[in-house]
Amino acid sequence: MQTTPRFLKILDIFSIILFAVAVVLVFFYAELEAIMGQVQRVFYFHVATAWVGMLGFLVAAIAGVVYLLKHERKWDVVGFAAVEISLVFFFITIVSGSIWARPAWGTWWTWDPRLTTATIVELVYAAYLLLRQGIEDPDRRARFGAVYAILGFISVPLTFLSIRLYDRTIHPVVIGNGGGEGDFDMTTRMMQTFMFSLFTFSVLFATLLWHRIRLGNLAEMVESLRLKITQ
């Protein structure tokens, strides 16, 4: 358990290399955007972190379903790890989105469907954590966590749809300006940088998830040993 499996070490190195290349692409390969200037570069990693957030959410929901079906503790560890990573990365999405919005659209916050939905997901996670915190029995905690992760995952797309529909009724088709994201034309090099960033962060997600699952398993081990001794 303590020694890092070789495949994970390889994954670590692969992630670092990809990340370095992505950074180079973002700052030196992608062109400067014509209107909003340098801040547009934030877009590449901003969307990539949102992508990781969504992956985490998906994994948490799937882990929830599997836990309910199989009742094996390891799936609860996976679910919790996925939620934690998703929470951190959506946070990065929201803050970087806000920083990008300020010079690009003149406001710190746009009630744009994507940013708003990301915030709601963070609230779902906060509720998830509070729910778990209020339960002593580990099995019940895992069960309830799984159920809430599944419910959350199903409601969020509906939430996104309803906000987008709402947004459209408030801001009917406007000529030109933003209020939304991705309101610029991407050149080929920008598109390449964008896709590479997504790929990099997907690999990064897998690496982090594996590490976090190992951490969770270690915590479980310590906890059960502690219980055994204090009896």
């Binding site: 209107i35 200037g37 340098q38 990693f45 590490h211 915590a219 081990m221 502690r226």
Partner: protein, 58 residues
């Protein structure tokens, strides 16, 4: 901004925002990695202590 396009003066100067944005992205990721590392170290320490206690005769 539309005015910019019309006057063709080039993009607005937003480098500071870019730096702030990336500071957050790299910074929070770094903090998270450090947090995982610290938690692992503490747990491993706990594990050692507990294993000692387990093996010690009561």
């Amino acid at each position: 901004m539309l005015l910019n396009l019309i006057l063709k003066e080039g993009p607005i100067e937003t480098t500071n925002y870019m730096i702030a944005g990336y500071a957050v992205i790299f910074g929070v990721m770094a903090i998270y990695l450090v947090s995982m590392y610290l938690r692992r170290r503490n747990l491993q320490r706990d594990l050692e202590v507990l294993e000692e206690l387990e093996n010690k005769p009561q």
